[in-house]
């Protein structure tokens, strides 16, 4: 299982550490560990480089010098840097991100509370963005240069260039206040909030677990507007990328082959061309999903959505270092996770990438 001589298709032998399916899993874990280590190193260094004195933040600027020195010693700031880093890493590996000055609760508990809200919003937004963006991009590519293409382009451009706070406010004004189609800010009506046990923290799933359909539909009507507004951005991006990937694929020889076989145009587009478009597209979708998972501050503020973006921004403004670093680690880990997911999907979609 260690180094195995492997012969390539051209007959040359090459040595490869950890070969085979099990080996590729080990290689994956190995690269994950290295990336996570890098992430921890960077967050640690940021924490030391920032011109915020954690001791001062804890004791206040009127504390006598003796208190200041004692707290500094307690916090381990007298130790050499490498020892501090060791303590930092071992704390984080035990799930100890420190205590938030702002909420005076462990940072991990705070993140457990805010991250599911962001996760839920980003996931629903990405599903909407993919479900609409791909067909729109395909539609535009197939009718290149004709009115459907222009329509999609203008729709996308509008989505891309409108400030999100304006779109959010307009959405609330029209669909909540005037038409009453959706519920207002927050994740649930205030009346319901105490009824729900946060099992997963995802409202749509928690309400289903409790089996209360009224609550479920209430959660849906709360999430649908902010999710659609976030989706508008990823939709515009996904549609544009789909269009250009699609045009590239439609010019390939194998499309001509399919036409020679007498295959219907629908099947050529959705099976042959889209099958190849999905390969690069999956990376695009993953990146836009990861971006949404960082939390979108403006949307969260307008819709009073208690998500990660709001949490990190508030902590940053209050110089709450533990919370900021904890949030940063979560965002970094999410990026690594989503990249991993897109890697797996890529292999699934493209037989040439499997080895």
């Amino acid at each position: 299982m260690f180094s195995v001589l492997r012969s390539n298709r051209d007959g040359r032998k090459r040595a490869r550490l950890f070969s085979g399916t099990g080996g590729s899993f080990i290689r994956l874990v190995f690269s994950l560990i290295i990336t996570l280590f890098g992430l921890l190193l960077v967050t640690f260094l940021i924490g030391r480089v920032l011109p915020i004195d954690p001791v001062l933040a804890a004791v206040g600027d009127r504390a006598p010098q003796a208190v200041y020195d004692r707290v500094r010693e307690e916090m381990g700031l007298n130790l050499p840097l490498w020892q501090q880093f060791y303590i930092y890493v071992s704390n984080i590996l035990q799930g100890d991100f420190g205590r938030s000055v702002l909420t005076s609760r462990p940072v991990l508990d705070d993140i457990k509370r805010v991250f599911p809200a962001t996760l839920e919003l980003a996931t629903v937004a990405t599903i909407i963005g993919v479900a609409l963006g791909i067909p729109m991009g395909v539609f535009a590519a197939v009718h290149k240069g004709k009115w459907p293409d222009h329509l999609v382009r203008i729709f996308g451009l509008v989505g891309y260039s409108m400030p999100i706070f304006w779109l959010g406010l307009m959405g609330l004004m029209i669909f909540y206040m005037k038409l009453g189609w959706v519920a207002g800010p927050g994740r649930l009506d205030a009346f319901y909030v105490d009824f729900i046990e946060p099992t997963t923290g995802l409202m749509l799933i928690d309400t289903l677990i409790e089996g209360d359909m009224d609550l479920f539909w209430n959660a849906v009507s709360h999430i649908i507007l902010p999710a659609s507004i976030l989706a508008y951005f990823s939709l515009a991006y996904i549609a544009r990328m789909t269009r250009s990937f699609m045009l590239e694929q439609l010019g390939q020889e194998y499309i001509l082959t399919a036409r020679v076989k007498g295959i219907s145009e629908t099947r050529i587009i959705w099976r042959h061309a889209l099958g190849n478009v999905m390969v690069p597209l999956v990376t695009v979708i993953a990146l836009s999903y990861a971006n949404l998972l960082e939390g979108s501050v403006l949307t969260e503020i307008i819709f009073s959505w208690p998500g990660l973006g709001q949490y990190i921004t508030n902590s940053l403004l209050k110089a709450d270092m533990n919370a900021v670093l904890g949030g940063t680690i979560v965002v970094g880990a999410v990026f690594i996770g989503v990249n991993l997911l897109s890697d797996v999907l890529y292999r699934l979609l493209d037989p040439r990438a499997r080895r």
Partner: protein, 283 residues
Amino acid sequence: MTQDLILSVRNLHVGFNTAKGAIEAVRGVSFDLGRERLGIVGESGSGKSQTGRAILGLTAANGHIRADRLQFHDTDLRNLSPRDWRKVRGARISMIMQDPKYSLNPVMTVGDQIIEAYREHFKVNNREAKRRAIEMLESVKIRDPELVFKSYPHEVSGGMGQRVMIAMMLIPEPELIIADEPTSALDVTVQLQVMAILDDLVRERGMALIFISHDLHLVSSFCDRVLVMYQGRVVEEIAASNLDQAQHPYTRGLLNCLPKMDGNHADLPVLARDAAWETQDLT
């Protein structure tokens, strides 16, 4: 030879509107085809490939075709609806493309692509289609058809890819096969092998073949009749066995360009061109 007329082409024109202006790729090609093997030779840009594509109605979107007659059996190919085209393509006329590296879909297995070609025209279940596909892979002399059936195009060699292509295009038993430089992308050693397989299958099933190539040797050994094209026109039509007695100066020029075993290798002749060839008609 032509007692059993399959395809009749009269005065075929194919033009393209490009950014640099209109281009006429094919300018008045006429020929009749029976159950025979017809070669079309010519240099790059002579319009031979565009002639083949026009017969299948697959001229690019910026192109247009015009002909006095484009008759396949009782079907007028000049203005078919997309639905009617799908009944002709694959089922009755098919085409073998140049390079299997690009002409097979990289994310579908070989088997799925063959089955798709078959099931488009025959209402059979998947199992029966698979049996036929394996049979077809055997008939193009693939040694382990089950394995190739499950492979993806990047996992097979060029020669094998082209045999897969032949299997895929012949499985619905079309009457006419257009082979557009089917061996140009292959190694010289496998070229003849692939050509022989195609030739056997076409004979066995009594199909007509239009073999488009720039390789005079190949054409003369596998075809009954040869059309020589130059600048979008047919300049000479000749029986393949009489190719060395060709009259037209362009055909003679092409023949002279072929290196000979006992010839003088130092000075390969340069093709002479005459503007008059572009306007004169064969008939």
